[in-house]
């Protein structure tokens, strides 16, 4: 039953509206209003943003225009009398049904992308290129744990680093925890945001595109205490080959992680609590 509905939404909703969407980027220059996007998912989010921007923009212009037009045109005149009407059945039906179609269409447009980004069963975990990182947040900094060159956690080449270092052109899967209050990992250029909730391990993923190598900032988007505003982190994106080198380098410098005598970071997230992806 649900799968039928899902299929219907895919079959009917997306193609028609995506066609309409293709016209959108022609008008919308990226960078105005939104920061530059460095991922495919980010581009898709931006397309949806601009679709809503133009739809609501049209509604805004029409309704505000009518409001101003009526205010000017129907200002009280000497001896004038208002037209007596208490409503119009047909008009009510039209302006109830038309917006509901538009709103439903906007809603349906979001389904596919939302699942792609947020639903764990849609994550590219099977991708052999995928890189997994553990994120631990606490007042007021971010810490990251990497599996090292062997790509598996709980081994001798695991290492921690205070920066998020990830490859471009490959999916990055994050497992996220907080030990004290709610934090929110916000990567504006990747259009990535996810709350980290104490007591839960939350997964997320992103895919920085080839050629996006560079230094970026990590923001905390959830009030987490008096020094919330200082909870700035750094992200370094490297081209895939450079990242492999950097990963080995960092592993050599910071590994092994001594699980027997845990640092603060590991004390709260021991290997026994690792979840298989």
């Amino acid at each position: 039953m649900t799968s039928t509905i899902k299929t219907l939404i895919h079959r009917l909703g997306l193609p028609a509206l995506l066609l309409a969407l293709m016209a959108v980027p022609a008008f919308a220059e990226r960078g105005f209003l939104l920061p530059e996007s460095i991922s495919e998912q980010g581009d898709k989010i931006d397309d949806l943003f601009w679709a809503i921007f133009w739809i609501t923009g049209l509604v805004l212009v029409v309704t505000e225009g009518l409001l101003i037009y009526f205010i000017v045109k129907y200002r009280a005149k000497e001896g004038g009398k208002a037209y007596y009407t208490t409503g119009n059945h047909k008009a009510e039906i039209i302006w109830t049904i038309a917006p509901s179609i538009v709103l439903l269409a906007i809603a349906m447009l979001q389904f596919g992308l939302w699942r792609e980004i947020k639903a764990p069963e849609h994550f590219p975990t099977d991708d052999p290129e995928a890189v997994e990182v553990h994120v631990l947040a606490k007042q007021f900094n971010w810490a990251f744990r990497y599996a090292g060159p062997d790509r598996s956690f709980g081994t001798d080449d695991d290492y921690t680093f205070n920066k998020l270092v990830v490859p471009a052109g490959r999916p990055v899967i994050l497992q996220m925890r907080s030990i004290d209050v709610i934090h929110s990992l916000y990567l504006p250029e990747l259009r990535f945001k996810q709350d980290l909730v104490p007591g839960l391990t939350i997964t997320g993923w992103f895919h920085a595109r080839d050629g996006s190598a560079g230094d970026y900032e990590i923001a905390c988007a959830e009030l987490c205490g008096a020094s919330h505003y200082t909870m700035r982190g750094e992200m370094e994106i490297l081209e895939s080959a450079d990242w492999e080198v950097r990963d080995r380098e960092l592993s050599a410098q910071n590994a092994p992680v001594d699980y027997a005598s845990p640092t603060e970071f590991f004390k709260f997230w021991p290997p026994s609590e690792f979840t298989a992806n």
């Binding site: 989010i45 309704t63 009518l66 009280a76 208002a82 208490t86 007591g199 988007a221």
Partner: protein, 601 residues
């Protein structure tokens, strides 16, 4: 009980003896005096909330510099306290009490032809509960640790681990205003159901009365959930329970909960952090509608009166308000799209959220229909009502961006949402409150306000509110998180974000504008108090409106009406072609035709 009987009851109770100052002004059980108590308390707290807002803006434009009047530099704790208390004061102590406590009290009995509320003493207690809540908030400024800095949403575990009494006082303050709201809601619902004058059928009630009725249902059903939530938070803080404390929580260098917990704060753990958010938004989303529905009612009445036209689609207006109420209970999850709740739950909340835009859209179209081919008189209340419609369109449409779950990923918890709420709550609701104060001023105080000052107040407020809130959309989409004390990277304080450096100018412009927005409220206060004594004496029905409050002596005495009232038609019979005058008061039988205007559909 008829209106006449109610009026008699009012007189019999306390009309025949000289009243002491305390019983007339403090422990009054007259709905109009209680309304004024809410008005003046609300206005005083509006000044406080506004001052806190300017403090927040100052910090964002010129981080950690000396704040004028406050006299020193904000500490981060000061900043977060100012931000938290600005929102809490404005929502719980200004907007809701002004809309419901003030307008509900003032309008409902007068508009349905009743002598007073059905439970006058409960009404008095409702005010005193509200004032107690306000006192908790005010006292929290002087307790150890200062007021709560956990945000007006008070999300645990932050609100759990914050030291001092601030969060406790905050929780108690919100609880007491909640009691006040529920008492008021019971009173409004019962009064509207039982005390309508003969002939005042449901579909002859002004939309203000409908909006208060619908708002009261929302308040009655949603507030207890918030209360339970706050009680659990309070118990977690003072009694060591673990409703919202998961296992292994670490704070201030100590493990708080679970088997490894040590120290004074140690507790069992096993609680659910997200539970608080669900319960909180189950109330606080409807609260957004509590903060806008009465404003919609007020604006509908003002638009019809000054366009000299019946409300276009009176019944659709009522149905759309009811739809907002129904849907309002199933959209709370849209505050939690990025919270870590099941993503599929997010999808269903998105669909319900999209659909709650529909009744709002229907209302906008009907307001436009009301203006269409009208005779628009630009009195001060009308200016505010018209700007409500214009601003509400902006605030409504920006909501669609955040309802779209993937787009919300980027703009969630940024200044975009701050812009959205301020367009709905300030640019729309507060403007409607101003409009309503001007509209009912002549009836309330028996004197007319100064028109020039009123217009000055309107135009400057409209200008500076847009100057303040419009740019928030822009910095929001650029990724400026809300609730940060420093926006663009600041070398001196070594904090902030470099990706926001290009937008710092916007923070400065918004702050200048916010300061101006504060100053341009001065004409309003001068007008409010000066006209009370020096204003021109007002006629009984200066706007030639139809609803029953204009049929009372000015200002209305105890018991409200001079004699029995009977209602013959709906409240919006303006400009009927068979009538000589362009209005037909509800209570006048002769001379004007009795038209079942709303029976048309």
């Amino acid at each position: 009980m008829t209106a006449a009987a109610a009026a008699e009851h009012g007189h019999g109770d306390h009309g025949h003896h000289e009243e002491s100052f305390a019983s007339k002004y403090l422990f009054s059980i007259d709905h109009k005096m209680i309304a004024k108590q809410f008005l003046f308390t609300g206005i005083f707290l509006f000044l406080l909330g506004g001052a806190l807002a300017v403090g927040v803006r100052w910090q964002l434009a010129w981080p950690f510099t000396e704040v004028p009047i406050f006299g020193k530099t904000f500490s981060p704790e000061n900043y977060y306290a100012a931000m938290t208390m600005h929102a809490s004061v404005m929502i719980f102590l200004v907007i809701i009490p002004l809309l419901v406590g003030f307008f509900g009290n003032w309008c409902v009995p007068l508009m349905i032809g009743a002598g007073d509320m059905v439970f006058p003493r409960l009404n008095m207690w409702s005010y005193w509960m509200f004032l107690s809540g306000a006192v908790f908030f005010l006292v929290s400024f002087f307790v150890e640790g200062g007021p709560s800095g956990a945000g007006w949403t008070g999300y645990p575990p932050l609100s759990e681990i914050q030291p001092g009494q601030g969060v406790n006082m905050w929780a108690l303050g919100v609880l007491f205003t909640g009691f006040s709201g529920v008492m008021g809601a019971v009173n409004y619902i019962t009064t509207i159901l039982k005390l309508r004058a003969p002939g005042m059928t449901f579909f002859r009630m002004p939309l203000v009365v409908w909006s208060i009725l619908i708002t009261s249902v929302l308040t009655l059903l949603a507030t207890p959930v918030l209360a339970s939530n706050l009680i659990m938070l309070f118990l977690d803080r003072v009694a060591g329970t673990s409703f919202f404390v998961p296992d292994g929580l670490v704070a201030a260098g100590q493990v708080w909960s679970g088997p490894d917990a040590v120290g004074e704060s140690a507790r069992a753990g096993g609680g659910q952090v997200l539970m608080f958010q669900h319960l909180f938004w189950f109330y606080s989303h409807p609260a957004v509608y509590i903060m806008v529905l009465p404003a919609m009612g007020i604006v509908s009445d003002i638009l019809a009166t000054f366009a000299r036209k019946p409300i276009f689609g009176y019944k659709p207006m009522i149905y759309s308000m009811s739809a907002i109420t129904g849907l309002g209970f199933i959209v709370w999850g849209h505050h939690m799209f990025q919270s870590g709740m099941n993503p599929y739950l997010g999808l269903s909340f998105m669909v319900s959220t999209m659909f709650i835009a529909l009744p709002s859209a229907v209302k906008v179209f009907n307001w436009l229909g009301t203006l269409w081919r009208g005779q628009i008189h630009f009195e001060v209340p009308m200016l505010f009502a018209l700007s409500f419609v214009g601003m509400f369109i902006i605030g409504g449409l920006s909501g669609i961006f955040m309802a779209a779950t993937p787009v919300d990923i980027h703009i969630h918890d940024t200044y975009f949402i701050v812009a959205h709420i301020h367009y709905v709550v300030f640019a729309s609701t507060v403007m409607a409150i101003f409009g309503a104060v001007y509209y009912w001023y002549p009836k309330m105080f028996g004197r007319m306000y100064n028109h020039t000052l009123g217009k000055l107040h309107f135009w400057l407020t409209l200008l500076f509110l847009n100057g303040t809130f419009m740019l928030m959309h822009y910095v929001g989409t650029q990724g400026h998180p809300r609730r940060i004390a420093v926006g663009a990277w600041d070398e001196t304080v070594q904090a902030g974000y470099k990706y926001l450096e290009d937008f710092h100018w916007a923070n400065e412009v918004m702050t200048y504008s916010a300061i101006c927005l504060g100053f341009v409220q001065i004409p309003f206060f001068i007008n409010l108090f000066w006209s009370m004594w020096k204003g021109e004496k007002a006629a009984d029905n200066p706007w030639k409106a139809n609803s029953l409050e204009w049929a009372t002596p000015t200002p209305p005495p105890h018991g409200n009406f001079a004699g029995p009232v009977e209602v013959y038609r709906g409240p919006y019979e303006f400009s009927h072609p068979d009538m000589k005058e362009d209005y037909a008061p509800q209570q006048i039988e002769d001379g004007t035709p009795v038209v079942q205007a709303q029976a048309a559909h």
